[in-house]
């Protein structure tokens, strides 16, 4: 009997050793795979235990923070939808978008820059926290942009042309991140697409604001000077395509500066055809059209048609921003900023600093040059012409008393609908501190709809 009992013990030993083997398999060998399994919600849970970094505007307004419920931190957006198009959301159910996604490693406290901090936290027993983001956004300019755009579908972008720092950026319609989970079903169904950030993702024909690129190219290439004389008869035939002015106006004899002031299509078609498809394409690329933005927020690259496929008719069309030219509002703001900044386009940035919770700066973004498509002299000439646009041309609605404003209107024709209204501009014209680009979808004339919005944003920017 004793022998049988001993054997029974060995049987139990085998059973329990099998258990230990299975435990080792689960907890060590298969653990990495199990932890990242699609049905495993524990990853989300562990993130909820870490206080996610806050997002603060340059003037110290909290844009995203947390509220604590039990041991969990829930994301809170005190300013509601003010910055939602690009700040995005961090939802347990629907994931992340915008900055919340682009800077998730920093915000969740998992970036390499926080390794030392995490270690110190571990040693001192302090709860680990995500890193904070300090933005370039100025809440006052942002609020002015949001209020000026109102409920109209469209986008506004404001930059500091000297650095590329984004001062304000908005898109309409947009979503409220505080009620995202409840609104989700209707948000994704909504045909006005409130989840799309029109400022960086929306592609639009630029219309007459693209004349700035043509003017810069013409002046830089020496094809024209501001004083070069042109004759307008209301329309011009280019390769079988009839170019005509807005509202069928006839301007008669005028110089090139006047052509920009009055936004004369026939003259720009002539200059564009003179430059040729290759040169136009080169300048469009030089100003950044067709390249993805080198920032983490991503966005559409825009497009200028391949020169090989462009006949005279299409070149003429492209010269006043119609046809197959497509840009985002942010790109238009950057092109304008290039002119305002003496011919040098800066890389845009939205996040000025990443800081840990004791305010130690982990990462700092400074001004970076993107390209210099034109000389300072050419930029000066274009700027002077743009001042005329606001003083006595199509953009007078953007004028601010006591400040010289430079600008350009655009009224981009859309098939089967009202035109898109554009305005791009900057102030003060002689030493620009703010550039703005406004797009209102199907808003009608740029000078009528977009210019007043731009004026409000420029004013807020100058007062900051």
């Amino acid at each position: 009997m004793e022998r049988s009992i001993r054997k029974l013990f060995w049987f139990f030993t085998v059973l329990f050793l099998a258990l230990i083997a299975q435990l080792s398999y689960l907890q060590v060998w298969a653990a990495p795979e199990l932890r990242t399994h699609a049905n495993n919600t524990r990853a989300v849970e562990s993130e909820m235990r870490v206080e996610r970094g806050s997002v603060v505007s340059s003037d110290g307004v909290l844009l995203a923070g947390n509220r604590k419920e039990g041991v969990y931190f829930l994301r809170d957006y005190p300013v509601g939808d003010l910055v939602s198009p690009w700040l995005g959301y961090s939802s347990l159910r629907y994931g992340r978008s915008g900055l919340e996604r682009a800077y998730n490693l920093e915000l969740a406290g998992e970036t390499d820059a926080l390794v030392v901090r995490s270690y110190i936290d571990l040693l001192t027993g302090r709860p680990h926290r995500g890193a904070d983001l300090v933005l370039t956004i100025d809440s006052r300019v942002q609020r002015a942009a949001v209020e000026a755009l109102g409920g109209a579908p469209g986008a506004v972008v404001a930059l500091d042309p000297r650095t590329g720092a984004v001062l304000a950026m908005t898109s309409s319609p947009r979503f409220d991140p505080r009620t995202l989970d409840e609104d989700w079903a209707s948000l994704i169904e909504d045909e006005s697409r409130p989840l799309v950030d029109r400022a960086v993702q929306g592609l639009y024909p630029p219309g007459s604001v693209f004349k700035l690129v043509v003017a810069a190219a013409g002046l830089e290439e020496g094809v024209v000077t501001p004083g070069t004389m042109f004759e307008d008869e209301g329309s011009w035939l280019a390769g079988g395509y009839r170019v005509s002015n807005n509202d069928g106006k006839v301007f008669g004899e005028h110089d090139f500066a006047e052509a920009l002031t009055r936004s004369i299509n026939t003259t720009f078609a002539k200059v564009g055809v003179d430059l040729g498809a290759d040169t136009l394409a080169r300048y469009a690329a030089g100003f950044g059209i067709g390249s993805a933005l080198s920032w983490r927020l991503g966005g559409a690259a825009g497009s200028f048609p391949a020169p090989a496929g462009l006949d005279t008719a299409h070149v003429a069309q492209a010269s006043f921003g119609q046809g197959e030219v497509l840009v985002t509002p942010l790109q238009m703001a950057l092109i304008t900023a290039g002119i305002a900044n003496g011919g040098t386009v800066m890389v845009p940035y939205l996040v000025a600093e990443v800081r840990d919770y004791s305010q130690i700066v982990l990462e700092k973004t400074g001004p970076t040059r993107a390209s210099s498509p034109i000389s300072e002299a050419t930029a000066g000439e274009v700027r002077d012409m743009m001042v005329q646009v606001v003083e006595r041309g199509t953009g007078t609605a953007a004028a601010i008393s006591g400040v010289e404003v430079a600008g350009k209107t655009g009224t981009a024709q859309v098939e089967g609908g009202e035109s898109h209204a554009w305005f791009v501009g900057f102030a003060p014209a002689d030493d620009p501190t703010i550039v703005v680009a406004v797009l209102v979808e199907h808003g009608g004339s740029g000078g009528g709809t977009a210019a007043p919005i731009a004026r409000a944003v420029l004013r807020a920017g100058l007062e900051r």
Partner: protein, 461 residues
């Protein structure tokens, strides 16, 4: 050091674990250390200190490791239950006290455990009656019919039936052992015992299958059957019975597998829980995630992810059947293996009691009690780790539940009583008794317990 002091020494880890564990969990919740954080440890110290004193007085020579292992397991259990739901931990504390009272009663009342022999059929019938009661009056929880209500208290008769049946098996086998080992007929070259002595085996086989049918309780039927096989093996020393028994069970089970969808379901989930990870496989899949989350060292006491935002536990039945998953998550592989080894040590000590016992009934009783305890632990530990198909059954001393706690305390008391006799009591069997009466050391007794004077009684037993 005397074995008594050894026990007191080994009780210390359990006390420390309870004290420090509760303090950690409390501090994590309150974010401040308060003196109240030490209260559970103090209460636990008091309770097991008392049990130690009782044991010292009643069964002074009994195994000194069993009570500390129990203390460790139940302290870890109540700590994890507190993590799941503080209200349940308070109830569990009450059950521990009730269990301790039952422990004392059984220990004092059954010091002369051989009296059980006289009532073996009554006990066997009692065990079956408990099961029948469950069939008739039981309510279904998680697809198994295990509970009956007695006033406000839920009661799980199978937990007690297992004790009754172990005592009956041991007593019955003690009686028919000789006849089972003497084969009278041969069939296909295999020696067969007289059929009438196989009666109980067949009866229990039928009973286990009936359990599966009526109670839908795979775990308990497997437990009963496994324990019976272990006992028959130890009683006869013939592996042949194990093969036949296992074959019978497998045959019956495979028929039931075909007939009953819930059996197929359990096995299907075990084979591939990922087929329906949000539905039928959810509980097991979440258990595996919990173990994976724990990793080598665990997430730390109080750090596990046990609850959903709604407050309910992620793993259903976390405080009972799946308590080990929570331990695996918070204490990691290190803690989980420690638990497994504690059970193995318990089994080792229990079987050591069996080996050292002087008579067959004591041996069989100790073996049965140990086997049912170890097998129950293995079935649920294996189930929640996907080593074997999951069967709903409690983890002894750790899971939440009054019936489980009280019945296992009774089991422990009985085992200690047998242990006391093994260490110092008189041999009961005929040869030993004769030897005692003659005052002569017989060869049998000396062979049984080499190196120790048989019949040298110590203590007051």
């Amino acid at each position: 050091m005397t074995s008594r002091s050894k026990e007191l020494l080994f009780l210390l880890p359990a006390m420390l674990l309870t004290t420090i564990g509760f303090a950690i969990v409390f501090v994590r919740q309150a974010e401040a250390f308060e003196l109240i954080s030490l209260a559970p440890g103090a209460a636990f110290l008091g309770l097991f200190g008392l049990l130690h004193v009782v044991r010292r007085l009643v069964v002074p020579a009994a195994d000194p490791y069993l009570l500390p292992i129990t203390a460790l397991l139940s302290s870890l259990g109540i700590l994890m239950i507190y993590r799941v739901e503080p209200r349940l931990a308070a109830q569990q504390a009450v059950w521990l006290v009730v269990g301790s009272v039952a422990f004392v009663i059984v220990l004092v009342g059954l010091r002369r455990f051989e009296r059980l022999l006289e009532y073996k059929y009554l006990i066997g019938l009692g065990g079956i009656a408990l099961l029948v009661l469950t069939m008739v009056a039981g309510r279904e929880v998680y697809g198994a019919r295990l509970w009956i209500r007695v006033g406000p208290v839920g009661f799980q008769p199978p937990e007690f039936a297992k004790l009754f049946l172990v005592v009956f098996f041991a007593a019955y086998l003690d009686q028919v052992r000789e006849m089972l080992t003497v084969s009278t007929r041969r069939f296909l070259g295999v020696a067969l015992p007289p059929l009438r002595h196989l009666g109980p085996l067949i009866t229990i086989w039928g009973l286990s299958l009936a359990l599966m049918i009526f109670l839908k309780d795979l775990g308990t039927s497997l437990l009963f059957f496994g324990t019976l096989l272990a006992l028959i093996y130890v009683a006869t020393g013939r592996f042949f019975y194990v093969v036949v028994g296992a074959g019978l069970f497998a045959g019956g089970a495979s028929v039931l597998y075909r007939i009953f969808p819930h059996v197929q379901l359990r096995v299907g989930i075990w084979l591939d829980p990922w087929q329906d990870p949000l539905g039928r496989g959810y509980q097991l899949v979440q258990s595996l995630f919990a173990f994976a989350a724990g990793g080598l060292f665990g997430r730390g006491l109080g750090e596990g992810y046990l609850h959903l935002a709604s407050g309910s536990t992620i793993i259903p039945a976390l405080e009972t059947d799946f308590i080990f998953s929570a331990i695996g998550e918070e204490l990691g592989l290190v803690g989980a293996v420690a638990i497994v080894l504690l059970y193995l040590v318990f089994v080792q000590r229990g079987l050591r009691v069996a080996v050292r016992s002087h008579d067959d009934f004591a041996r069989l009783l100790a073996t049965g009690l140990t086997a049912v305890f170890g097998l129950q632990a293995f079935l649920i530990l294996g189930g929640v780790t996907k080593l074997i198909p999951l069967t709903g059954i409690t983890l002894p001393f750790v899971s939440y539940g009054g019936s489980s706690i009280v019945s296992n305390f009774c089991l422990l008391a009985l085992l200690l009583a047998v242990s006391e006799r093994a260490a110092g009591g008189a041999p009961r069997d005929a040869a030993g008794r004769a030897a005692l009466e003659a005052g002569v050391r017989t060869g049998t007794a000396a062979q049984d317990r080499p190196g120790r004077a048989a019949g040298a009684r110590t203590g007051s037993a």
